[in-house]
């Protein structure tokens, strides 16, 4: 194994203001290797790859491909050096076809025509070679998440990538789709390509990689061959200290709080709800697993009051849900944690205290007669909440957008929980947070459960669902399965249900599931 490395990082450093995202990173990658880049959220994995791909420019250090320095800050140069990247958030244009998405940028911009015939032939050949089945003429908007990822991989291969970077590729896949992706990666490395695989999931890394580099707070804290690595050892390297995620304690569930029956939304498509039934009791956390776009967002929007157009019924503590009216829903005892904290959760340009009163603006506590804001009371309450939820900030008048993700999530948590809601909707509550913040958020949710709240936890992370919920239901094409305790079904079974490849909803729906 004395061949020159295909890729080498030498002392790469990148700073964002006061934050050092990558600190003196040195790494090598050889042909046929799968290098796993392990680290928790915010450790600097994505930043490092964005430097490699030319999205960012490093402040110090250099990157060598086949021993030659890669011109910094140029995606074009990275692509011509044979680097291909599959971004965590797909970079596809929905209203264009697969072929258009793949070929854009591959031809000289000043050519007077596109070589569409030749392009299509080349693409069809690659689709066959790698088994990445997708219709070249389909609009991207019609594709499933798995297919979109195939388009992303094809995009890189189409440009003759020799080093393929995959950023958290399994986050949006079912376990079976993930397995299929691993098969694809094996066939790709067998053809001599090298792969960099970014993840924070230990079991995946142990399964797929040949070499692991662990990043923590921007620095490499260890590089080792996968065959010598142990799970516990990697976990400790990654987090740097022992963080135990909170565990579910046994508690007897109480009376039904959230009762949904026959909930259906129109419009068709895979995200329209179809006859959803669900009951969540006091002292209970029910999880929903599913691939993004199968209706969980619609269900969350209905329970948040953003969608009022549905048939069937939903009630909290026996009282009908105020459809399409977030304010009344909150007033009736619902705490909501939205999926995207920047887009929906907080208004970055407003001050912290202002964000904390947004849900009960017209209450007698916060405003006089629902007209004039009681600023003193609002600031006072914000100060209390900041203290109670340990939000690190300069005070209630700090600008919200300057907070870190974890602190912002704590603010959202404090807004949702401080009124002791009887039902909590937690939609991807720990996505993108570091281990400390994850443990904090999960601990708060468990406290709320202890205190008697009913909680609906929507998550893409099956491990989280398995460890944190009393029962798990799976949503596929808008249909929700019966919730079962985590012990009852294996992760593989849940994965099959997420892909719609099983008879869900127990016996009554036998035969509905379709084959492969």
């Amino acid at each position: 194994m004395a061949a020159a490395p295909i890729l080498e990082f030498r002392g790469v450093t990148k700073r964002f203001g006061a934050l050092t995202a990558n600190d003196n990173i040195s790494l090598t990658l050889n042909q046929g290797e799968v290098l796993a880049l392990l680290g928790e959220n915010g450790a600097g994995k994505t930043t490092l790859m964005n430097i490699l791909f030319g999205h960012y420019q490093a402040d110090e250090g250099e990157i060598l491909v086949d021993g030659e320095a890669l011109p910094p800050g140029s995606t074009q140069a990275a692509i011509s050096a044979g680097i291909g990247m599959v971004h965590q958030h797909f970079t596809l244009a929905d209203n264009l076809t697969v072929l258009e998405n793949i070929t854009v940028g591959t031809e000289s911009l000043w050519s007077w025509r596109q070589e569409n015939q030749a392009n299509r032939e080349k693409l069809t050949r690659m689709i066959e070679d790698y088994g990445l089945v997708v219709d070249p003429d389909a609009l991207v908007s019609t594709l499933s998440v798995g297919e979109r990822q195939r388009v992303e991989i094809l995009k890189a291969l189409y440009r003759d990538a020799r080093i393929l970077i995959l950023d958290e590729p399994t986050a949006v896949l079912t376990p079976q789709e993930a397995d299929r992706l691993f098969e694809t990666l094996k066939s790709i490395t067998a053809k001599g390509l090298a792969v960099i695989f970014i993840s924070h999931k230990l079991h995946e890394i142990l399964a797929i990689s040949t070499k692991v580099a662990v990043l923590r707070r921007g620095s490499i804290v260890g590089t080792l061959a996968t065959k010598d690595a142990k799970r516990e050892q990697l976990a400790e390297l990654m987090v740097g200290r022992v963080v135990t995620r909170p565990k579910l304690s046994a508690i007897k569930r109480g009376a039904p709080v959230l009762e949904i029956s026959d909930l259906t939304t129109g419009g068709g498509g895979s995200s329209a709800l179809k006859n959803v039934d669900l009951v969540i009791h006091a002292h209970e956390i029910v999880g929903i697993a599913g691939v993004a776009g199968n209706g969980q967002a619609v269900l969350a929007d209905i329970l948040s009051g953003l969608i009022g157009n549905f048939t069937g019924s939903a009630s909290i503590n026996g009282r009908e849900l105020a459809a399409g009216d977030p304010r009344s829903i909150v007033a009736s005892g619902v705490g909501r944690i939205p999926e995207d904290r920047h887009a929906r959760g907080m208004i970055g340009d407003m001050e912290i205290w202002e964000n904390l009163i947004s849900e009960d603006l017209r209450s007698s506590e916060i405003s006089y007669g629902g007209m004039v804001i009681n600023g003193d009371r609002a600031r006072e309450r914000a100060t209390e909440q900041i203290k109670e939820f340990d939000v690190r900030c300069e005070g209630p008048e700090a600008e919200t957008k300057l907070l870190s993700g974890g602190n912002m999530q704590k603010l959202i948590l404090s807004r949702a929980l401080s009124r002791n809601p009887s039902f909590i909707l937690a939609n991807q509550p720990v996505r993108g947070l570091d281990e400390g913040a994850i443990a904090y958020v999960q601990g708060r949710l468990l406290e709320a459960r202890q205190a008697g709240a009913a909680i609906l936890l929507i998550s893409e992370d099956l491990d989280e669902l398995m460890s944190l919920t009393d029962r798990i239901a799976v949503i596929y094409h808008g249909s929700l399965s019966l919730p079962e305790p985590p012990g009852k079904r294996s992760i593989a079974e849940i994965g099959l249900m997420m892909a719609g490849q099983t008879q869900n909803k127990s016996e009554e729906l036998q035969g509905v599931g379709h084959g492969h």
């Binding site: 999205h55 940028g105 911009l109």
Partner: protein
């Protein structure tokens, strides 16, 4: 009513329609290119004014007509560059920048015009584009006068429609432009410089707008008047929505509007005694609003229209 009907069969009406449609075509296609790349260009009204003044002034100062058109296009592109620096590179509000460009462009045009011609009480004239009779075709009844006896600039306008369509939908650079308006991140990930693509699109689009303005002073009329663009730029913005960002439909929409305006001028003469002329003049503006209402539900906006792209920004 029968009068109006008869108008439809006069060659003069169709000739006027084709003449009036030319600046609308240039303006609408210019705006369409900008918006396809993801940039709303509300500087259009000002850029058309700049083009009208620049082209005319070039000829008035002794330049010839075609270099005048090219000069107008260059000045338009320069204003487009200004718009692009603000909206594409500095990521400033496209709405406010556009309005600012319009205010700046129109006032600067008037300033320069007055500066160079301080004492002109009646607007001086130039020798504008002559009608270019296409041999044989121009002798056909009605069609001959309507379509084949126009000025070269009108033929150019009509030719621009298929050219813009071809470039947008059949060339690599067109694909890059459209994709920049759909998902700029995807374009950047393919190694194309989104900022450059958008800047180029806005400059080309603005150049077309300026030529549209120049048409008015150099082919339609022969002098520069204050307020002569008179909202045509805004109508073009409405037409882009009406056309669902398709060049072909833009031509249809522009023809519809030009026909309405030509009809309006003629109806004023016949019905002017009964209906005050102001109501005829209102028609294009009201129709623009109606057109947007009609198409609002059906159109698919470019998904990244108004969305700035910041390179190297921390997500």
């Amino acid at each position: 009513m029968s009068d109006l009907f008869e108008i439809l069969f006069t060659a003069g009406f169709w000739a006027a329609t084709i003449r009036i449609v030319s600046p609308l075509i240039f303006g609408t296609l210019g705006e369409l290119i900008c918006e396809r790349a993801g940039v709303l260009n509300l500087g259009i009204e000002g850029i058309m004014t700049v083009g009208a003044m620049a082209g005319w002034m070039w000829v008035y100062q002794g330049g010839d007509l075609w270099t005048g058109v090219i000069f107008a296009a260059c000045v338009g592109a320069l204003f487009g560059l200004l718009h692009a620096i603000f909206t594409v590179h500095l990521c400033l509000s496209q709405h406010v920048t556009g309005i600012g460009i319009t205010l700046f462009g129109s006032s600067l045009s008037y300033f320069i015009y007055r500066m160079l011609l301080p004492d002109a009480t009646t607007p001086p004239k130039i020798e504008p584009f002559e009608p270019l009779l296409i041999p044989w075709f121009s002798e056909l009844p009605i069609v001959g006068e309507a379509l084949f006896s126009q000025t070269a600039l009108t033929y150019l306008a009509l030719l621009t429609v298929p050219v813009v369509w071809y470039v947008l939908f059949r060339t690599p650079v067109g694909l890059a432009v459209r994709m920049s308006g759909e998902n700029p991140v995807a374009v950047e990930a393919q190694g194309i410089n989104v900022l450059a693509v958008r800047t180029g699109a806005v400059m080309v689009g603005s150049a077309l707008m300026a030529v549209g303005g120049a048409f008015i002073t150099m082919s339609w009329f022969d002098a520069f008047y204050f307020g002569m663009i008179n909202g045509r730029g805004w109508i073009c913005v409405a037409l882009v929505i009406f056309a669902s960002w398709q060049p072909g439909k833009a031509l249809l929409g522009a023809l519809l509007f030009a026909g309405l305006e030509a009809m309006q001028v003629r109806a004023q003469q016949s019905a002017g005694a009964i209906i005050p002329y102001q109501f005829f003049l209102m028609l294009p503006y009201i129709m623009s609003i109606v057109a947007m209402i009609v198409m609002a539900r059906k159109t698919k906006y470019p998904q990244a229209l108004l969305v700035p792209f910041r390179r190297g920004e921390r997500v």
